[in-house]
């Protein structure tokens, strides 16, 4: 069948019209959102945006001091909640000292966190911090974004003050992201900010490659906020002792996509399959891999959970008796 000239014309119009519209509007991408800055002016625009944000947030960054070392952290609420790294707090309920940028000090106590993502929380107990930084919502940061890292490498130094590093997000997956902001010991737990001055990550590990350091994503905090605030520090050790399901998952916008079901595990017995989309565990929304691991392994082997998932757009609910993790040989 030959297409009528009328149809061809309509198709042509349809395919060209959107282009004309875009061009007539003259879309201008700000230099910090474009793939590459094109001129010195662009670089200067990025610089002044970062400088503005830096002056807005710098008083929220603290040095965290324990007997065995020093890290950094960032105050994120008027009540004095501090986001930091799990390896900076070490355990829950520990008394620590925080130092603000003007050298004043306060007592803080460690709350919870997770060694999986290296997320940790602290709370100031004997002072009301004057400044706190805004945190980004989930999925606000992406690969290529400009960002800046703040912290106290080598510990607190009043005359030096905070140390600023500027970079871009070079990788981001689940609970970890990498940037080319250069980090050093003492930076751990310090904040990674978006160009607009919102916390998008927390410094975690220093890479051998100085231009690809690791940060915990703010998404990891959002997903496990209540657990980190009120419960415990989830350790690798607790994970070994706790309940076990037996699935490998990947995060997606609708839930956790099952990539693999390990043979002879509770997951297999419950009938889970590759491609299932896990959505809730005991009514808790599964919005991160880490949350599934924490919810499963904070229960003891033998306890029963209710798992909701969807398979081929059909919602299913199963009761699963958790097993025991085979300890690594």
């Amino acid at each position: 069948m030959r297409a009528s000239p009328y149809l061809v014309a309509r198709l042509l119009l349809l395919s060209f019209l959107p282009i004309f519209v875009v061009e007539s509007k003259e879309v201008k991408i700000p230099p910090w959102n474009s793939v590459l800055p094109h001129s010195i002016n662009d670089l200067e625009a990025i610089q002044s945006r970062i400088q503005n944000s830096f002056y807005n947030v710098k008083k929220s960054v603290v040095s965290v001091v324990a007997e065995d070392g020093a890290g950094s952290g960032v105050v994120v609420s008027p009540e004095g909640l501090i986001l930091t790294a799990a390896h900076v707090i070490g355990e829950s309920g520990r008394e620590m000292k925080v130092i603000f940028d003007d050298g004043s000090q306060a007592q803080a106590v460690s709350l919870g966190g997770s060694e999986l993502s290296d997320a940790g929380m602290l709370k100031v107990i004997d002072a009301v911090p004057e400044f706190f930084a805004p945190i980004a919502l989930s999925s606000q940061s992406a690969v290529g974004d400009w960002c800046f890292a703040l912290g106290h490498p080598n510990g607190f130094d009043l005359s030096r003050g905070l140390v600023l590093r500027v970079g871009r997000v070079i990788r981001k997956k689940e609970e970890t992201m990498q940037t080319d902001c250069r980090l050093l010991g003492g930076d751990s737990g310090g904040p990674l900010f978006s160009i607009d001055g919102e916390v998008i990550g927390i410094h975690s590990r220093i890479s051998q490659d100085p231009e690809a350091n690791f940060h915990t994503t703010i998404e990891s905090f959002h997903s496990n906020w209540d657990y980190f605030m009120n419960e415990d520090l989830h350790t690798f050790q607790a994970m070994q002792r706790g309940g076990f399901l037996g699935v490998y998952c990947e995060e997606s916008t609708d839930g956790l996509l099952v990539l693999e079901v390990v043979p002879d595990t509770p997951a297999e017995k419950a009938g889970l399959q590759h491609g299932d989309l896990l959505t809730h565990l005991d009514g808790n929304l599964l919005d991160s891999r880490e949350k599934l691991t924490i919810l499963v392994s904070s229960q003891s082997p033998g306890s029963k959970i209710v798992l909701d998932y969807s398979r081929e757009s059909r919602d299913v609910s199963v009761r699963v008796e958790l097993g025991k993790r085979n300890s690594p040989e």
Binding site: V35, G69, E211
Partner: protein, 336 residues
């Protein structure tokens, strides 16, 4: 004509493809788009050329040891004194080599002035600028890298300040005594410190340092403060009633604390002299210790100062232009 047209289409198609590709979401940011991946410093254009033309690399026995900047059209080069010791030649960005000799050196700033030897020539020199230090934090800055035409990018990263002398340390804690005729007792020896390596033990009483009697803790501290890490001293100590002489090589203050030790290991080679400067600005550029002595430049190629120490993997110190100016002017006046 037909041929031209089709190749135009091909070209534009190719560019579209490239741009489309870059705009897509990547698993990881392609390395050329990272801060020091090369694409960003390309936009500096003619300013990059100006930076390269007024910068040189200093060599000792064909080994790159430091960088320098041309500060006078008669061929005077400014560099970091303690890094450029023994330099014999300099190379320009286009790999021309010239013999050089040292003319001046200043202990306070760790600056040295070198002169290019050979037939007279008019040299391109740096254009100095005084950075407004109160608003400097976060300002882009650039410096020459290891490769001949390489430029590194970073920012001013901390408060400008005086860097005090670090002094050497023994890595021991002493009892605080105002006056003692029977020596100053050691109350703690930090593991792996120079005191530990020299064999000092808790309870040793320090009687003399290099033959001088020590009567107070302050006296010992003051003496150490005026020594450098690496200095060799002889201690006379009273150990359980017996007097023994112990030779000790002083260490860095930082060593002895785990965090600092690890950081030193993570940082790779750092400048030998990285303390005791009259005033510095700090930057986060990824520079190696052989890049010290070179200039720190603005995006428009103006020279803000001289990179004077690689301190660790997140910090370099730069002597700002106002500190350099009086030293340089005196030298040039004397030489002309």
């Amino acid at each position: 004509m037909k041929f031209h047209l089709s190749s135009c289409f091909l070209l534009s198609g190719f560019t579209c493809f490239l741009l489309g590709d870059l705009n897509e979401k990547h698993d990881s940011l392609p390395s050329e788009l990272r801060i020091n991946g090369g694409s960003i410093t390309k936009i500096l254009g003619k300013y990059k050329d100006e930076i390269l033309q007024s910068s040189v690399k200093l060599f000792r026995n064909d080994k790159l040891i430091a960088q320098g900047i041309l500060v006078d059209s008669a061929g005077y080069i400014l560099s970091k004194a303690s890094s450029s010791v023994g330099a014999r030649t300099m190379r320009t960005f286009n790999n021309q080599s010239f013999p050089i000799r040292i003319r001046k050196r200043d202990e306070r700033t760790d600056l040295a002035l070198w002169q290019v030897l050979g037939p007279p020539k008019i040299w391109e020199t740096v254009q100095w600028v005084d950075l407004n230090q109160s608003t400097a934090l976060g300002t882009w800055s650039t410096a020459t890298g290891r490769a001949m035409s390489e430029i590194k990018l970073g920012v001013i990263s901390a408060n400008p300040r005086i860097i005090l002398r670090e002094g050497g340390v023994m890595g021991v804690l002493l009892e605080d005594l105002n006056i003692s005729t029977s020596g100053i007792p050691i109350t703690e020896v930090l593991p792996h410190s120079s005191g530990d390596r020299a064999g000092l033990i808790i309870g040793d009483r320090i009687l003399k340092v290099d033959g001088r009697a020590m009567q107070s803790t302050d006296q010992i501290n003051q003496l150490m403060h005026n020594k450098d890490p690496g200095d060799l001293l002889t201690l006379r100590v009273n150990r359980k009633g017996k007097e023994v002489d112990i030779r000790i090589t002083l260490g860095h203050r930082s060593v002895g604390f785990d965090l600092f030790n690890r950081n030193l290991l993570m940082s790779g080679p750092v400048s030998k002299r990285r303390d005791h400067f009259p005033f510095v600005i700090q930057n986060d550029l990824p520079l190696e210790k052989e890049m010290m002595g070179g200039g720190l430049f603005s995006l428009k190629g103006e020279c803000l100062g001289i990179n004077i120490a690689r301190v660790d993997r997140v910090s370099n110190y730069t002597l700002p232009y106002p500190i350099i100016l009086p030293v340089l002017n005196t030298w040039l006046r004397e030489l002309r």
